[in-house]
Structure formats: C-alpha cells, structure tokens
Symmetry: C2
Subunit: 593 residues, 2 copies
C-alpha cells in the first residue's frame, strides 16, 4: 500500500468505536461488580453506597470525557497524555505519562483476554484446564488480525460491539419497563451479612474498584490521526458517543442490578443476574452473555491499536527505539503489535491467566495519565490566546484535580494487592526512555559531523583458508576483485600435523595462484582464530587502519543443512565482529545438492 493510500485505511466513527472503544465498553461487564464485591463486605450498610458510587463514576466519566474532547481538538496529531504532558509540563511528567500508559496498555491485553476466556469457561467448563493456552492463542490471534492492518481490524470488531450494546440495552429496557408497570423481575439473592465494618476506606476501595470501568477512555485521544478527516472532529464525536454508551450502560446495570439485589459471584456477574431475573433462558439472555464474552476478549484490541501509535510517537521524539516508527518498514506498526502481544503473553503466563490477580495492576497507570494529561491542558490554556480559554481551563482543572484524587485513591487502596508493581515499573520505564533519548542525542551528534573525503589506498585483505577448494578459491577470486594480488594474504592455520592435504597445500597453492601470498602458521594450541588476529594486527602496525577479512560461506540448498557447514567461519565472525579496524565479508559458495 503506498503512503498516499494511508488515508483509505482511516476509521469512520462507527469503526472507531470498534478499534478504540471496546476496552471502555467491555468494562460494563466487570466495573459494577468490582464496586459490589467490596461493598458487600459491609453487608446492607455497605450496599447502600452502590448507587452513589456508580453515580460518582458516571460523573467522573463525564468530566474526563469533556476534558479529553478539548485535548483532541488542541492536539489533532495524537499522542495523548505523553504529548500533552511533555509539551506543557516538561519532559519528566511526559515520560511518566508514557510509562503509565504503556503499562496500562499491557495490563489491558492481559486482563481483558483472561476475563474473556473466563467468560467462555463459564459456558464450557471442560476447557478450564487449558485456560492459559487459550489465553495465549487468543492473544496470538489478535496479533495476526492487527498485523493485517487497522481497517480490517476495526471491521472485525464492529459487529460484536453493536450486538453487545443493543442486546444489553434491550435487556435493561425490558427490566425497567417491568419495574415501571409494577411487575418487577424477582430478586434472586439475599445480601449476606457483614464481615467488615463500614468505613471510609471501604467505600474508597469500592470506588477504586469501579474506576476500572474508566480504563480505555484515553485511547481515542492517542489515536486521532487514525480517523477519517476531519480527524479531530470525528475523534471527538466518537469519544462522546462512546462515553454516552458507556455511561448509560454502566448506570443502567448498576441501578437495575441494585433493584434485583444482584450479588456478583465468580460464576455470574451483575449483567448475568439481571438477565436471569428478567428474561431467563430467553435468546436475549444468551445473546447478551455470548456477546459480552466476545467483547471482553476483543477489548484487548484497544491496546493493539493504541500501543503501536504511542510507541511511534515516542520513537519519533527519540524516546523509544527507532524501529517503532521506522520509515519504510511496513505501514501497520508491526513492531509495536508484536512487542505488546509477546509481553502480554508473558504476563498471562506468569499470572496463570487469573483475572483477579491481574486487576490490581490495572487502572493505576491510566489515572496517573489522566492527571498528567489534564494538568498539561491547564498549562496549555494558560499560554493560549484562544477564545473561551478560561472556561476550557476550568474544565481541565476540574478534570486534573478529580483524576489526581482518584489516582491517589486507587494507588493507596490497591497498593499491596499489586499496584506497587506499577508504581515501581513506571519510574523505571521513564528512566529508560530518558536513557534512550540521551543515547540517540549523543549518536546523532557524532553522526552529524561528516569528515571530508580523503584519498584512500587499496584495501588490505586477509583470506583465512582451511584448504584450497572451490569455496576458498571463490573467496580469493573475490578478494582479487576488491584489491590487487600484492595486498592479499591467504592465511592457513595448521593444527593437525598429520593431515596429508595440509602438507601438499603450499605446492597446490603455488600452482593455482602464484601471485597471492599463502602464509602457513602452525598453531600448537589448536587455536584457529588468534593467529589470524595476530596477522590483522601486523597489518595495522604496517599502516593499514582497516583490514578486510574475506571468509568463504558455504550455502547448502536447504536451510537445515546449514548446521553441517561454516562452523569455523561462524567462530571467526563472532570473534572479529567488534574487533576495531576489521571489516568481515562472507563470499557465498552455493552448493548445488
């Protein structure tokens, strides 16, 4: 696909929800549950806080989305929190934001795939022992889909998303209608008695649990350039649509879950219990369940779209290895997709595919990002001359303060359960980005000073040979094509005094190539390489700063036959790889059979 065709890969609003919105939407399947899990510890008194907390999270969502809409318009080239924080707050906050976001992308893949597979296992318990294997296969599948390109990836995810949103909305409406007409769905559970006192800490923990529903909201801000033009406008509208869907579904699940007295368990979440109470065994119930399992699985796609873009932005600013934004090496950010896939597979294996163990790693990173991004926007408006900048500043200031408070709550209430890993990892990542940047700056400076062309003499060449055969002959012929015969030395290291071919070599050599010197060196210690290095150093002493070592390289027809050849050539290459003043050249000799 030519560069000019990149536009055709752009996303419509509909496809944008599929590409960037699944992470946010799928959290409806566990966000309300995470609130209740904590509150139920304090029995009826605790559960009373369910709806206020849900309302608080919906409000928080509104604040964050209003803030991010402004970011999208102010930074149409994308980059999200990293760009905003580094441009306005300075390098360190920018790198911290980037590190947090990377951790968050990674945990998103691990959490959503393992949650999705867990939802599948609820249908087919027999596959439980193969949980980790299925997780890994699912991640590999997502990698392959994304390596094929953004557009197809978006398209593959639109259907399950809309099936989930529509079927869940239908379920919630039916339940609401029955309550309104005085025929409420029957309650399934009684609230268990309290095992813990109601405390501010408990309520905050519940709130922190519910905040996992917010992860993924920032993805669109990072991915603005992926949208159809006008990019900013389409991205902002997609974000608004996404937030409305998410907010409505989240509140709907929370309210109706409360009214049927849902008590989430390992086997059935709040959505499943609403379905059971409202439309048990109906097709609708199964559609909701299967599509929610599907979108949980596919939510990882958000990271597969977001991480490579973030990596590319950072790479262009020299904070990440250049291969993540490499000019010319494939359009689809393949390196980023592969890296996040492989790391997520490692994470899933380490945590044994256990969603509950992974969740505490989640959401800390994203709220650090939110805070840095909104704070950056506040500074942005301070320096801006735009109309209504004071109003916009106020919105972002509210966003910054709120998300900052939430970040502290999430980090402190989940510190021991795993948030500490993130709080340790993020500074390490930031430090690493900084070191990469410093390295590239140094390298750039050194590369920039191009020395004047100077006259260069003919190259000095050494050809280590084991015997005079077709392969070593080809190497010598090649040496003759790059320098004159008098500048070539063929070196034969003799380790085996009783080989008759060794004894006849000088004679055969003289006959074949009288003008190229053959130097025979006896090596009593059976050491092949150091005599050649001694030869090279002799050339250096004689005034040749660069010596070319030409090695024969036997190429068999089949790749697996390679192990049968070139073992000493490989040893030479490894030994000479970083030897100063040496250029190693392999001359291929193709075997016909």
């Amino acid at each position: 696909m030519p560069s000019s065709a990149q536009q055709h890969e752009r996303l419509s609003k509909t496809a944008g929800i599929g590409a960037f919105g699944l992470d946010a939407l799928s959290s409806v399947a566990y966000g309300p549950d995470e609130i209740l899990y904590v509150l139920l510890l304090a029995g009826t008194a605790g559960v009373a806080f369910d709806l206020p907390i849900a309302a608080g999270i919906a409000l928080l969502l509104a604040i964050v989305v209003l803030s991010y809409r402004q970011t999208i318009h102010a930074y149409p080239n994308g980059g999200g929190s990293f760009t905003v924080a580094s441009r306005n707050l300075g390098r360190t906050p920018g790198l911290v934001a980037a590190g947090s976001l990377m951790v968050d992308y990674l945990t998103t893949v691990a959490v959503s795939v393992s949650a999705g597979v867990a939802a599948l296992i609820a249908f087919v318990p027999a596959i439980n022992p193969y949980r980790v294997v299925i997780d890994v296969v699912a991640i590999l599948l997502l990698m392959v889909i994304n390596l094929r390109g953004v557009r197809e990836a978006g398209a593959a995810f639109i259907l399950p998303t809309y099936v989930f949103v529509l079927s869940l909305a239908a379920l919630l409406l039916i339940a609401a209608f029955r309550i309104a007409t005085g025929n409420p769905p029957h309650q399934l559970h009684t609230i268990p008695s309290a095992t813990e006192g109601l405390s501010v800490f408990l309520v905050l923990r519940a709130f922190a649990g519910g905040c996992t529903a917010m992860t993924g909201v920032e993805a669109i801000a990072n991915g603005v350039p992926a949208f159809e033009p006008p990019e900013s406008q389409n991205a902002a509208r997609t974000l608004t649509i996404l937030a409305c869907l998410l907010g409505a579904l989240f509140l709907g699940v929370a309210v109706l879950g409360r009214s049927i007295g849902a008590v989430p368990t390992d086997q059935s979440n709040v959505i499943a219990q609403i379905g059971e109470a409202t439309a048990p065994n109906s097709p609708l119930f199964y559609i909701v369940q299967i599509s929610s399992a599907a979108i949980l699985l596919l939510a990882a796609n958000t990271s597969f779209n977001g991480f490579p873009r973030l990596a590319a932005v950072m790479s262009r600013d020299d904070y990440f290895p250049h291969q993540f934004s490499h000019r010319g090496l494939k359009l689809a950010y393949s390196n980023g997709i592969i890296v996040i896939g492989v790391l997520a597979i490692a994470l899933v294996i380490v945590f044994g595919g256990n969603t509950h163990a992974l969740i505490p790693l989640y959401a800390v990173g994203v709220f650090i990002c939110f805070t840095l991004s909104q704070s950056g926007m506040v500074v942005h408006w301070l320096h801006s001359k735009e109309q209504r900048r004071h109003f916009k500043l106020a919105i972002n200031a509210v966003g910054a303060v709120t998300t900052g408070a939430v970040a502290i709550i999430v980090a402190s209430t989940k510190f021991l359960e795993g948030a500490w890993i993130v709080l340790l990892l993020v500074p390490l990542l930031a430090l690493n980005f900084w070191a990469i940047h410093r390295h590239y700056a140094h390298a750039r400076k050194q590369l920039a000073s191009v020395p004047k062309r100077h006259r260069v003499g003919k190259q000095r060449v050494i050809v280590p040979i084991q015997d005079l055969n077709a392969a070593s002959a080809a190497a010598v012929e090649y040496a003759l094509s790059i320098t004159t015969a008098s500048r070539i030395t063929a070196v034969h290291v003799r380790v085996d005094s009783d080989d008759p071919r060794d004894a006849s070599l000088p004679e055969r050599w003289k006959h074949w190539s009288p003008d190229v010197e053959l130097r025979v060196i006896t090596s009593p210690y059976r050491e092949l390489i150091s005599p050649v290095i001694a030869e090279i150093e002799r050339c250096h002493r004689e005034g040749d700063p660069t010596v070319t070592v030409v090695l024969p390289d036997i190429l068999p027809r089949a790749w697996y036959q390679t192990v049968l050849h070139n073992q000493s050539e490989l040893a030479f290459k490894l030994a000479l790889l970083h030897h100063p003043g040496v250029v190693v050249t392999s001359v291929p000799f193709q075997l016909r059979e």
Copy 2:
C-alpha cells in the same frame, strides 16, 4: 593446551573407573531391585527364581566382558560398537549401533540423575517439589565439570566411587560373617502373596529388569584412546577390574538380599534393607546410603565422556556434523558435552524427573549395540589371520547369540512401557546419519573441483544510504578502498516526502563526493529493500556477476544499545543473505558514547 599435551590428559586405570565405570557400578543400586519387583508379583514361587536370574546376569556380564576385551585389543582407536559393526557388518548395522548407543547415552544421563536425586529426596523429603529443578541443576553441573576437561572430571569422581565400593563391600562382608557364625541379621519383611501366576514371561521380564545392571559396560571400549599408553592394555584391565567389582557386588547384594528376605519399595532399595538389617543406624549404613546416592548422580558422567567421543568418531567419518570433531575448536569435545546435556535436560523435563517412567527406555539400545558389536567381531575373526582366532571367534559368537537373545527379551517384555520409543528412534537416527553422510559426500565433490584463476574486473558496489552522515560516509570511504568511484552507486530510497533532510541530500552529496553517483529512488509503497534489489539486478544485467552491497553498521559502546540502531541494515542483510550474486559487507562505525 597444545595438541602434543593431549597425552597428559590421559586416564590411569584408577581414574578410568571414575570416568567410564560409574554407570555400570551404580546399577548395583537398582539392578537387583528390578528383578525382585517383577518376581514378587508371583509371591514365594516367583522369588525362588531370584538367585538363578542373578547368576544368569553375572554369567552374561562375564560373556560380554570377555567379548569386549577382545574388541578393545582389536580396535585400539576406540569407536566401540559403531566402528566394529560398520567395519565388519557394513554401513547400516554400524549406523544402527551408533543410533542405539546415542539413545543409550542420553537415557543414561536422564535415568541416573533422576535416580540420584530420588535417593537424595529419600534423605531430605522437603526438596521433593523441586525435583525437576534439581535434576536440571545437576545436569548443568556435570556439563560444566566435563567442559573443563577429562582429567579433572575423572578425578572428581574417583573418591565417591571407591567410598561406595569399599563401604558396600564391608557391609556385605559383615552380613556374610554374621550368617557364617550363626548370628544372621534379622529378617525385615515377609513376602507378600502372589497377584500374578508364575510364567515364563514373568521370569523373562524379571531378567530383562536385571539387565539394566549391564548398561555402561561398553563405555570403556568406546573410550580406549582416553587411557594412558599402552591404551588397549590399560583399557582392557580397567574393564576386567570393573566387571569383577560389578559382578561381585551384584551377586553379593542379590544373595544377601535374599537371605534377609528383602522386599524393595519406593522408599528403600535392597542395599538399604541389607544395611538396616545388618548395621542399623551405624556410620557404615549412612556412608553406604550417601555414597550410593552420590554415585547414582555421578553415573551420568559416563555418558558425558562417551557421547562426545562417539560423536567425534562418527563426525570424522562424515556421519555427524563436523563441529563435533572440529580441528582446532577446543580439545574437550565441548559441542558433544553441550548437546547431550541439553537433550538430557529436555528428557528429564518431559518425563517430570520420574525414574520409573524412564527405565523402560533404558537397556534396549545397549543390547542392540552389544549384539551388533559381537556379531561384527565374529566377522572380524573370520577374516583374521591371527593366532587362536577360532577360540576368539567362539567367545564372540557366544556373546553375539546371548546378547541378541537378551535384546529380543528386553524389547518384547518392555515394548509397551516405552521400549517402542527407542525402537522408533534408532532407525530414524540411522537414517539421519546416512543423510548427513550423503550431503557431505556431495559437498566434498563440489568443493574438490577448483576452477582455474581467471582475470576479474573491479568490483561493482552499491551503498544504500538513508542520509549523508558519519556512518554512511565511512561506508562510502570503504567502498572507495575496494573499487573506483565510477563503479560505486549510492542509493537513497525516499519514502517520506516531507523530510527536509531528504530534499537537501542531493546538494550535500554533490558537495561532499562529486565523483560518486547518488541515485535517489522514490518508493511510494514505503518499501526500502526492493528498490535496492532492482538496482542490484540492473548491475547483473549490465554484466557484473557479483555486486557488493556495503552497509554502514553503527556500533554502540554497550551491547544492549544495539537494539537502538541498524534496524534497516538488519532488514537489508536478511533480505540479501541468500540473494545470488550479492556479497554483503558491513562497515562498522564505532560510537564513542
């Protein structure tokens, strides 16, 4: 160490037992048990066959050892079954023998390490969950010891061997003395009632189990050249000493085990029960137990000595990759040691460190070898003119027939338990050896025809450059040292139309190097490599059979910084690696910081 110093690494008879005899000796710790395990299924009626079977195995040992003494004298250069079978019976039997022996070396490492660790676990049950990890560490340790050289390896194993032999002999003598003086050790167990009828098959199975005691006897015949001169005589004497020790201890354990009514279990073997009955809680009891655990562990060393030697012999005959006998690349057969270590680690992991699961793989291979080797010796004497050749032929003929019969017994009674794996693997290995040989023969033929030297023109050189910087300048300077300016084309593939450095490049280039052509190719598909390949093919069409591609190679100071550079250079190298008529040369540019 110089080649001439190889003799100083040779083994004395004492050290030879340590280096090659542990596998055989350690089998006293499980051979008698394996007989009883099967016989006890038929109760008292079965156990009555214990001593006859033990005597049969001792007789078999005598036959095999007499046969192998003749082999050692006839083939002083070692190679054992492979050499004997291939020289006398032809290639196929030789390769089958080699394959069997390799499988046997491998299973020896896995079985003896896991049995040794199991013996340790009997002392320290707490380490049981880490069984596989300890197995792996033990194998790695043996690898390291052997990589340091034969002599030290031999020395490290002499002490535990002699402690085991002497302490076990002392224990057996005390027990015998007490029986002789009418004060017999008290019996510990009663024989459980039969669960299976006595049958010929059962007796044969018991015999096959006992035959595991014979594994390792062939190791000395393979390793003759490792002994001090006179090699054959020392090797033959070591073999005799080993066989006498093994036979005496094996029979002693069997007879005294029977007289105290030993019933082996998972927790305590026959030796442990003799110790408990004769000298409970005495220092002698513990010395026997600990040294037997130690020599079981160390028995794997036999394979670490034997396998690399066999691999070297086969490699010299072109049946195994040449790096296993490579002239000049280290004395100590490092490649063979590493290969058997890694494979054994894999085997131990696959079988979860379970000795009982591994034992059926054991002993089949070695009896196939015995049979082929003895049959080969029979043919050897048929063609010999030596004195007493008819007597020697008779000994080897008895050996061949006996071991052949045992091979059939072992393979058939243990077929379903695992012997089938070996019977499948050995022909596959033999086939592979044959294919390697064929490949080397073809390669040798092609390499042997050295073409006449012909006049070669100056090399055609292409230098792909991203920008004019110090690294690409160094690459062009190098190109100028191997050919003239008019034969060099710098190729710049432009993928990013809005980079200002791209636009200024032709101007800067002209200023820096007016005599070297810069060709700018626009690549609308962001493809860096195919335009360069098109350039190469143009040169081929213009009559240059070989084109050199010179790439800049940025060398950072620290190895881990390498990932930050040279990504497109790497892509070039991979793409051009096997492209016909292309030589790829990297010109290093060293970063100072």
